[in-house]
Symmetry: C3
């Protein structure tokens, strides 16, 4: 189940990447390459930092193929996808919620400490899009005031806390995916931003 | 033989990097640093993703020294090199052909699957220049319409296919280096680009 | 002692990052994230290239916590810190001196060759700020004419040379930290730059 949701998120990330790079006038190779980097990049950096070899998409080719084929398909239907951009924003929110909580759970299972699990949840969820923005010369989410990473940070922290104090909670994963998603969805819907005093300058 | 061709490609990549960064007004340290990143970066990312330690230039210092010394020399003779830019474009085409096919062959030998071999051929050939362009704030080849990565993708795919269906073909390596080089060389000579319908927007 | 100096340098790097990104109008999450990347990024890339797992801040959480908490504190007192920018430049010089020489010493201890130790000293000292500048879209130190990396290159080269010819010199580490720091400090104070003939164009 989590595996299928993981593949689903990979696909969603690939699609949002194709839409995000649509106005850049790229050729089909670059579109598919950037879609795959967005979808697979965060988990790749997580596995490299933790030294978990083989890296997940080298080990299980489904992740690679889903990101390549979904990016390819999305390239040809970008126009109709763009019309559903609002829907995609929420699917992306579901994607980062799934990615971060499952990454944090995997990190804890491997025996790493709670703070490392939070960092890995964060890296898995946000580094894919950060890499894409670097490669296309666009300002990354770190430069925007959108509440994108903060819901992830909150959700994974709650998850790690629950795991620490109540080690046998089976519904901690779905609960925290829900919390992360809900926080991000509200941030999209109500245009939440950081208050001024929490911004430099 | 392949080893010497590898060192030769490292040198060519270092030289094209020095020429590419010539108009950036960099000091000699940055020029040599960026030349080495261009020459060694792609293979470094490949070895890290595959978890192949020690990384090739840490293991065999010749690669590091060739890239440093060639960059250093190129810095002082950039002017005469720039006059031979056309020649260098074709040497660079030979470099990416050599890099990608030998990387794909090495990846297959290590027991990874054909699709991973294609991805590694691609990463080895193009990530060096992508890293250089990131570090100098230049638009990378992903943003250009040049047929640069596509010949590599085609050549390594043919190589991997040949290897899969005819495992004992000794001339698969030179053949596919030739195909990749020829495709890229034609793309340079005839200014080939992707047709409009294969470009976003 | 070296351990405490390492934690101290991590803190200094986090603070200089907060000041460097002050005029970018970032939210508190991005400020702390970029502070931590600056402080921990160089050593992370070093450990990944050498294949030294677990990576130092995954193994010992103090490094992570110091960089997060110092960045957080610095965010709220940036104004008073900015007034001491000159002091911070010199503390940063001390930081890169400490980072590079201890990284080179660690690399030699692990059995790698002298040239690899020099490269790792360099990477550890400069890649944190390079990553931060990439992520904020600022021109990195590679594009500036400041003598920033060169003192590090000189200091670590002297250290590695001393180690090679006089293997049992106990004061090689403090001496070379001093040399690197002094060279960088003079470069700041006297605005040293590369002479024109050592710059491209």
């Amino acid at each position: 189940m989590l595996y299928l949701l993981g593949l689903f998120s990979i696909g969603v990330f690939a699609i949002t990447s194709v839409i995000a790079t649509h106005n850049k006038n790229l050729d089909i190779f670059s579109v598919v390459f950037l879609g795959s980097v967005t979808a697979l990049g965060g988990g790749t950096i997580r596995d490299i930092i933790l030294g978990q070899y083989p890296i997940y998409w080298v080990d299980d080719l489904w992740f690679l193929w889903v990101s390549v084929l979904v990016s390819l398909t999305a390239f040809f239907v970008t126009k109709s996808l763009s019309n559903r951009y609002q829907l995609l924003l929420y699917l992306d929110a579901l994607g980062i919620a799934l990615f971060s909580i499952t990454a944090a759970a995997k990190t804890l299972e491997l025996g790493f400490s709670p703070s490392i699990a939070v960092v890995m949840g964060l890296i898995t969820a946000i580094f894919g899009s950060i890499l894409r923005d670097l490669l296309t010369g666009s300002p990354s989410l770190l430069l925007s005031k959108d509440l994108y990473a903060t819901p992830v940070l909150l959700g994974t922290s709650i998850f790690v806390g629950l795991n620490y104090w109540f080690p046998h909670l089976t519904w901690a994963v779905p609960l925290c995916i829900g919390v992360t998603f809900a926080f991000r969805a509200f941030a999209i819907y109500y245009h939440w931003h950081f208050p001024k005093w929490l911004c430099s300058r």
